[in-house]
C-alpha cells in the first residue's frame, strides 16, 4: 500500500475565456517515508496538484480522478473528514511565509489555533510545551513564541511556518516552493531543516519546485511536469543519470552551474505554451529538438520502461507493457 496515490488526476479551471486545463491525467504514487519532488516551470500544474492534495483548490476548479491517501479518496471525502486530515495528517507550507502567517497574531496564538482546530480541550501549558519543543528542534528559541511574524527574518519566518505545519506530527508534508523567496545561503539552511524532518521524523514529503538542482539531494522520486502533464516519473538516481524525456534532458543541462569546464550557455528555445490554447499533439513539440511527425498530431500516451514512466513518442515500442492507463492499480 502506498501512502498517497493519484490516479488519472485532471483539474480544470473554469474561466470567462473558457476552461483552462491545469492538470491532465496525472498518475503517481508515494510510499511511506518517501519524498517526491514535483518539478516544473510556472503554469505546469505543480502547485495545483499540491492544493488538490488538501482539497483547497479555488472554487472555479473542477477535479476528476482519484487521490488516495491511506486508501481514502480525498476527492470525495466528506468535508468534515477532510478537515480532520488537514494539519493533522497532511499539512502544507507555502512559498511566501509573510503572507501565510497572520501578521497581527503572536506566533504563540497561531500555534494555539492549529491545536484547537483538532483538540478543543487542550490545555495551554501543554500547547506551549509541544510548540516549544518543535520550535527548538528546527532552530528557533522557544522564547520567540511571544513575537509577531514581522519580528522574524525571512528564513526564520519560513522556519516558523514549518514548525506550524509539523506541530501535529502529520504523515505527509507538502512544501510548495519553500525556499524560492529566500536568499541562497538561507535556502540551504531551510533545505537542511527539511532533510532532518525526513530523516529523523520519518515524514513523507511532496516537494514542489522549479529547481531541479535543489531537490536532487533530498527526494527519492521525481515527477517532471510540463503544461499540465506529468512527462516523466521515476526514481531520482535514474532520472538524473539517464533522463528520458527531451524536456528533462534539456532542463538538466540548462541549469547554470559553477563548474569551470562548463562555460557554454545552454538553453531551451521557445516559450512556455499558453494553457488556454495549448499546441496540438505533444505540448512540448514546438520546443523539442527530436520532434517527429506524430508529435505534432497526437498526444503521446505514458509509456512504462523499467518502472519509469515517460510521456513521449520516442519511447513507443520500447515499453514493456501496454499504456500505463491500463496497468495502474
Amino acid at each position: 500500500m502506498s501512502l498517497l496515490e493519484a490516479r488519472d488526476l485532471s483539474i480544470e479551471y473554469l474561466t470567462r475565456d473558457g476552461n483552462l486545463k491545469a492538470v491532465e491525467n496525472v498518475s503517481f504514487s508515494l510510499g511511506f517515508h518517501e519524498t517526491l519532488g514535483l518539478v516544473g516551470e510556472s503554469g505546469c500544474g505543480k502547485s495545483t496538484i499540491g492544493l488538490s492534495l488538501l482539497r483547497i483548490l479555488p472554487i472555479n476548479a473542477r477535479m476528476k480522478g482519484k487521490i488516495l491517501y491511506k486508501e481514502k479518496d480525498i476527492a470525495i471525502l466528506p468535508e468534515e473528514e477532510i478537515r480532520s486530515l488537514r494539519g493533522k495528517e497532511i499539512s502544507m507550507i507555502f512559498q511566501d511565509p509573510m503572507t501565510s502567517l497572520d501578521p497581527i497574531m503572536r506566533i504563540k496564538n497561531q500555534f494555539f489555533e492549529t491545536f484547537r482546530a483538532h483538540f478543543q480541550k487542550m490545555k495551554e501549558e501543554e500547547m506551549i510545551k509541544i510548540s516549544s519543543d518543535v520550535l527548538k528542534s528546527i532552530g528557533i528559541d522557544p522564547s520567540r513564541l511571544e513575537n509577531y511574524p514581522f519580528e522574524f527574518s525571512g528564513g526564520m519566518r519560513q522556519r516558523v511556518m514549518i514548525a506550524l505545519a509539523i506541530v501535529l506530527n502529520p504523515s505527509l508534508l507538502i512544501a510548495d516552493e519553500p525556499t524560492t523567496s529566500l536568499d541562497v545561503v538561507v535556502q540551504l539552511q531551510i533545505m537542511e531543516v527539511l532533510k532532518e524532518l525526513k530523516d529523523k521524523r520519518n515524514m513523507s514529503m511532496v516537494l514542489i519546485t522549479h529547481d531541479l538542482g535543489l531537490v536532487a539531494e533530498i527526494v527519492d522520486k521525481v515527477g517532471i511536469m510540463y503544461a499540465g502533464n506529468l512527462v516523466e516519473f521515476g526514481d531520482v538516481n535514474s532520472i538524473y543519470e539517464n533522463p528520458l524525456h527531451p524536456y528533462t534532458r534539456l532542463l538538466l543541462i540548462s541549469i547554470p552551474n559553477v563548474k569551470l569546464e562548463d562555460m557554454e550557455l545552454k538553453y531551451i528555445k521557445g516559450n512556455l505554451p499558453s494553457l488556454k490554447s495549448p499546441p496540438a499533439g505533444c505540448k512540448f513539440h514546438p520546443r523539442c529538438p527530436f520532434v517527429m511527425d506524430v508529435c505534432t498530431k497526437e498526444d503521446p500516451p505514458t509509456f512504462e520502461i523499467n518502472e519509469r514512466k515517460v510521456k513521449c513518442w520516442l519511447y513507443e515500442g520500447e515499453h514493456d507493457e501496454s499504456k500505463s492507463e491500463t496497468n495502474i492499480g
Binding site: E41, S42, S153, G154, G155, M156, D183, V184, V185, V186, Q187, L188, Q189, E192, H210, D211, L212, G213, L214, A216, E217, V219, V236, N237, Y240, L250, L251, L252, S254, I255, P256, N257, V258, L260, M263, L265, K266, Y267, I268, K269, N271, L272
Partner: protein, 327 residues
C-alpha cells in the same frame, strides 16, 4: 577612441545612506542611517561585464541605481568617461542619460500596461529627441528584430499579451534603443522560469557583442554570473569583500563568504550528498553593522582581530580581497 583597456566607469568611495525616520523627541541625538552602500570603489573597462553578487540587503541594487543616478549618492565620485555623474543635475544629467540605461528585475512592473510595445520602446527616443517619427519607427523595428521579437507581430501588442520572457526582451529592447554605452542589469533573470533564464542571458551576451556594450550585472546567483561576467565583485553589507576575474573566483575563491556563496549553489546530482558547510544566521541589518569585519559574526574562520579591525580591500598576490586571513 574605444580602447579595450580604458576605463568607462570608475567609482570612487561611493556612499549611499538612507536616513531613518526618528521620533521628534530624539532629534538632537545622532540620526540613524541605513548604510546601504558604504565606501565602495571599483572600475569597469570598455566592453567589460562586471558582476555584482550578493544576498538581499547587501546593497547591490542600490549601487546599480546610484550609478545610473536614480538615487543621489551621499558621497563619492562616479566617473563616466570624464564626467562625474555624481555632480550632474537637471538638464545636463537628463541629456547624459541616453548613454546609460538600467534593466530591472520585474518586467511587468517596468512596462506601462496601457502602452503598446512599439510605443514603449520608442519612448526613450522621443525623450532624447532622436530622429523623426519615421526614423524612430525604423529604429524600433530594428531593435525588436534584434531581441528576437518579430516586429510585425509585436509592435502593436500590449504587455499583458506577452509571456515573462518576452516582456523581459521588450525591456531589454527599450534599454538598448538609444544606443547606450553602459547598461545596469539588475536581477534580470530572477523572475523568469528556468528554461527561459538562459535564453535571456544569451540575448544579453549577443547584444553586448553586437553593440560593444559595457554591463554591470547585478545578481544573487553566482552560477548565472559565471556565463556572462568577465569580473565578479562580491558585496556584503554595502562593501566589496572580493573582486576578481570570473575564472579566478570560481577556481579559487579567497574570502570565506565567497566560498560559502559558491558552495551554496545547488548541484543537480543526487549522488552529491556531501556534508556542506552551512553558515548559521542571516545577513545583519545595515542599520547596526557589526564592528570590525562585517562578516565576522557568521564567519567560520573568525579570529580575534576580525571583531575589532575592519579589513581593507587590498591586493595580495594579484588578487583583491578584504579579509584578515590574508594579511
Amino acid at each position: 577612441m574605444m580602447n579595450q583597456n580604458q576605463k568607462l566607469i570608475s567609482v570612487r568611495n561611493l556612499k549611499k545612506y538612507f536616513p531613518l525616520k526618528v521620533s521628534w523627541l530624539k532629534i538632537f541625538k545622532e540620526r540613524p542611517y541605513v548604510r546601504a552602500v558604504d565606501d565602495l570603489s571599483f572600475e569597469i573597462k570598455y566592453g567589460e561585464t562586471l558582476g555584482l553578487v550578493g544576498e538581499s540587503g547587501s546593497g547591490k541594487t542600490t549601487v546599480g541605481r546610484t550609478l545610473v543616478r536614480l538615487e543621489n549618492p551621499t558621497g563619492g565620485q562616479i566617473l563616466f568617461e570624464d564626467v562625474d555623474l555624481a555632480k550632474l543635475f537637471g538638464e545636463s544629467l537628463r541629456t547624459k542619460r541616453k548613454d546609460f540605461q538600467m534593466i530591472f528585475q520585474d518586467p511587468m512592473a517596468s512596462l506601462n500596461p496601457y502602452m503598446r510595445i512599439g510605443n514603449a520602446i520608442e519612448h526613450p527616443l522621443k525623450i532624447h529627441k532622436m530622429g523623426n517619427k519615421a526614423e524612430r519607427k525604423i529604429r524600433v523595428y530594428e531593435i525588436l528584430e534584434k531581441v528576437g521579437l518579430p516586429p510585425e507581430e509585436f509592435y502593436n501588442r500590449f504587455p499583458r499579451h506577452l509571456s515573462g520572457g518576452q516582456r523581459q526582451r521588450v525591456v531589454i529592447a527599450r534599454a538598448m534603443v538609444t544606443n547606450p554605452k553602459f547598461v545596469v542589469a539588475d536581477e534580470v533573470t530572477a523572475m523568469l522560469d528556468v528554461s527561459i533564464r538562459s535564453q535571456i542571458l544569451k540575448l544579453l551576451i549577443d547584444m553586448k557583442n553586437e553593440f560593444g556594450l559595457t554591463y554591470l550585472f547585478i545578481t544573487h546567483d553566482l552560477a548565472s554570473a559565471k556565463y556572462i561576467c568577465d569580473k565578479i565583485a562580491v558585496i556584503y553589507l554595502g562593501k566589496i569583500i572580493e573582486i576578481a576575474k570570473t575564472y579566478d573566483i570560481f577556481k579559487e575563491p579567497l574570502h570565506p563568504y565567497t566560498k560559502i556563496l559558491i558552495a551554496s549553489v545547488p548541484v543537480p546530482d543526487p549522488k552529491m550528498k556531501k556534508k556542506k558547510f552551512i553558515p548559521s544566521g542571516e545577513i545583519p541589518s545595515p542599520i547596526n553593522i557589526p564592528s570590525g569585519c562585517r562578516f565576522h559574526p557568521r564567519c567560520p574562520y573568525a579570529m580575534e582581530i576580525c571583531a575589532k579591525v575592519e579589513p581593507e580591500l587590498k591586493e595580495i598576490n594579484g588578487r583583491t580581497v578584504a579579509c584578515h586571513l590574508y594579511d
